[in-house]
Amino acid sequence: MEDNLDTKTKNTWCPGCSNFGILQAIKNAILILEKKGIGRERFVLTTGIGCHAKIVDYLNINTFYGLHGRAIPLAEGIKIANPNLKVLVCAGDGDAYDEGISHLIHAAKRNIDITVLIHNNRNFALTTGQFSATSPKGFVGRSSPEGSLEPAFNPLELMLSSGATFVARAFASKIDHLTNLIVKAIEHKGFSFIDILQPCLIWFNTYDVYNQKVYEFENNDISSKEKAIQGILEWDYNDGKKIPIGVFYKIEKPTFDEEVNSGLIKIKDFGSQIKEILDKKI
């Protein structure tokens, strides 16, 4: 096993793609947590389909490369099956906010202890640049040459109202900041969510805009929903002067995986239990 978590696979992201920053931050976070005593074999990553998903080939850990929009339910299944695992999801905005949005909402509502990282490049990049749920209104792409008619929605606002217990935003270029957030998200007991602003050089190059507008949000009352919503609403994914990044909200609540697994015991032979039920059915 490579110490640096690399695989031998050739990376096929576009040169300069901000996904490289996310990959580096995830590696950093795993190495930090490994030092804190979480064995590498306990990490599992699921992905959807899109540019982000190629990450499974570049990380030498357990992975399940799933279907478009379905990375979150896969991760939930893994966590329920083995709560001892640290389950991460990498999903695109198309994945999590378009195709599979119902799963995202329900996973947050359940407060299942998984960490969802959204590679939010605000367009469908691997299918050559169509508008997504977080593309701003007027987005010009090959399916919307005259500008898309739909405004973006704010995924953090949705997550807060759905019951997520850890809600954060990051910027893929700020690798140290992102690393720190990922460590915190994985250490958080409950559903943790980071929307990572991930500029797409080819179809929606937002590097300059983000470099100009992004600032680190200071929150001294992290359990306050009111404070969280103030920060979250500062930028609506369409227009705005400043874009705050950081943790907006974090509270502790019982987790779904813990509650469903309470009282479970491994049973070897089921014949006698079945006969017991049948005795009542005569």
Partner: protein
């Protein structure tokens, strides 16, 4: 000569006829009779018209009859709808508080219920008591049964039943048959127990009739099976993907739905095949297309389940015809899914799901958990190791030294994505070798059963719930009866052997396009004719007899 009894109980939804039907089944079962209960209900919660037909016989039966010996009516509608089905010497037992009719045994069921301050639904107990008296059953038997069924709530029901019992008169004396009573199970309960026998860890389902009662039953028996998780996710797409995640992490998973829900799961079915993740999917058919007729029956999804999913892949498909087979074949599906790391489908229909059948406990020990091939914990782990038989040893995430990479994408042995021609071909051929071994598995399985006159040159061929009416009438008409139990891998040789010497083969199906006949013809098996029914109701035995006589 076989002994026969058929009882219909009907009323509005919410009046409790179904539970009473089950009680009638149990009391007849007590006398060693073989019992079958047919449920007919509508997609509504109160009102409408629901009924159960309870059949009892000295022989095993699993189909309803049209003609009935006793009609138990909770409302006028039941009389109106079923009076003509009463045999000449049949008898009506009715709730005389709500029904006016000049014959039979009237029981003031509602007045009796009020007299003992019971809830309105308890009027069933008055009619149940009356029926017991009519059938010449000792009061003690009724009392024992109600105490067992109702526990602490038995007291008022017993008083009401006793009053009904006293007000009726004996018409017939049920004979105690010299055979052991068997348990009574619905097919859905048997599916659940079969999966549990083979180690079910996680059951996931989004409610959809007629599969829903698997979810209810497993949620209820969870207290007996402390390893079991029962979950109801946000939709069927969530169901199948959560299921595959759990299976990847080492859990034995089953999901249940009907045609519409299965349609939503189909992309996940393809994922199970490509990622080689074992999962059992129960598909209980109801009439479709689209919403169709939710609480009725059909066999219109056979071709769908056989070919569902994009891409080239195999799935194990079994089609049990009663509770006994549902238990065994669901267990088998779980074993095969893990042996070959592939999806397995248990195809049933509303009648198998929700009707009640006798269940012989001896089947429980006939199937045991078979362990899949596990990684030997040496060398670098390759999830898709290219083995001779195409089966790659399993490891689960969390195991030290194993990096387990599952994927929906085409991949190399490690599970790393590939688009290189050579690697694609190698992986396709690994799976093809696995499928070839899977196809050969049919030699070890009972893919068909043959009943009736095995020397007859006329035969009918059935699958699923049509087994019941098919065997009963086939025997009466001295025909050979062939039942298909496994559809993929297809038991072509077994069917050809079973049909050898047959000059006229008729498929009996509850669908509009003779899908069984289509499958048989695709395998070069000649089907001369089909008897089809597509009204949402199963074949009643008299009806099938009439139709068959015209065809043979």
């Amino acid at each position: 000569m076989s002994k026969e009894l058929s009882i219909l109980i009907g009323g509005a939804a919410g009046e409790g006829t179904r539970l009473t039907g089950q009680l009638i089944g149990k009391i007849l079962n007590h006398f060693g009779w073989r019992v079958f209960v047919y449920e007919d209900y509508q997609s509504l919660i109160t009102g409408g018209h629901n009924f159960s037909i309870i059949r009892a016989s000295s022989e095993r039966i699993s189909a309803p009859t049209k003609k009935i010996d006793y009609l138990i009516a909770l409302n006028q509608d039941t009389i109106f709808k079923h009076k003509n089905d009463l045999k000449k010497d049949g008898l009506i037992i009715y709730n005389s508080d709500q029904i006016k009719i000049g014959q039979g045994i009237g029981i003031p069921a509602l007045s009796i219920t009020k007299q003992f301050s019971g809830k309105p639904i308890m009027k069933n107990s008055a009619l149940f008591g009356a029926l017991a008296k009519v059938l010449g059953i000792d009061w003690q038997v009724v009392e024992d049964l109600l105490k067992r069924e109702f526990g602490a709530k038995a007291e008022i029901n017993l008083k009401i039943a006793k009053e009904g019992y006293e007000k009726a008169r004996t018409n017939w004396k049920i004979e105690k048959l010299n055979q052991k009573s068997l348990s009574l199970l619905t097919g859905n309960e048997a599916v659940a127990l079969g999966a549990l026998k083979i180690g079910l860890d996680v059951y996931l389902s989004y409610p959809m009739t007629p599969a829903t009662s698997i979810l209810h039953f497993l949620a209820q028996v969870r207290k007996n099976f402390k390893n079991l998780l029962v979950l109801q996710p946000e939709n069927e797409i969530g169901v199948v993907n959560i299921g595959l995640g759990s299976a990847y992490a080492g859990k034995r998973v089953m999901v249940g739905t009907s045609g519409g829900g299965f349609a939503l799961m189909v992309e996940g079915l393809s994922l199970a095949a490509q990622s080689e993740t074992p999962i059992v999917i129960v598909e209980s058919q109801r009439p479709a297309p689209a919403t169709g007729i939710p609480t009725y029956t059909a066999q219109g999804d056979l071709l769908f389940v056989l070919s569902a999913g994009h891409g080239d892949f195999k799935r194990f498909v079994v089609a049990p015809g009663d509770a006994q087979e549902a238990f065994y074949l669901t267990g088998l599906a779980m074993n095969i899914a893990w042996k070959y790391q592939m999806p397995a489908i248990v195809l049933i229909d509303k009648e198998v799901s929700e009707d009640t059948f006798n269940f012989d406990e001896s089947i429980i020990d006939k199937i045991k958990i078979e362990e899949p091939v596990f990684w030997g914990k040496t060398g670098e782990y390759r999830r898709y190791l290219d083995t001779e038989n195409g089966i790659s040893p399993l490891a689960f995430p969390g195991e030290k030294e194993a990096v387990v990479k599952s994927t929906s994408y085409e991949h190399d042995e490690f599970g790393i994505t590939t688009e290189e021609e050579e690697k694609i071909q190698k992986m396709q051929e690994k799976r093809l070798r696995k499928y070839e071994n899977f196809n050969n598995e049919i030699k070890n399985l009972e893919g068909v059963k043959v009943y009736g006159n095995k020397n007859s040159d006329k035969a009918i061929i059935v699958f699923g719930s049509n087994k019941g009416a098919g065997i009963e009438i086939g025997k009466k008409l001295n025909l050979k009866v062939i039942q298909v139990l496994v559809f993929q891998p297809f038991p072509e040789e077994q069917i050809k052997k079973a049909a050898s010497g047959v000059k006229k083969l008729i498929s009996v199906e509850t669908n509009a396009s003779a899908q069984l006949a289509q499958v048989l013809r695709a395998h070069d098996i000649k089907v001369n004719d089909s008897i089809l029914k597509y009204t949402g109701r199963p074949f009643f035995v008299e009806e099938l007899k009439e139709k068959l006589i015209k065809k043979i």
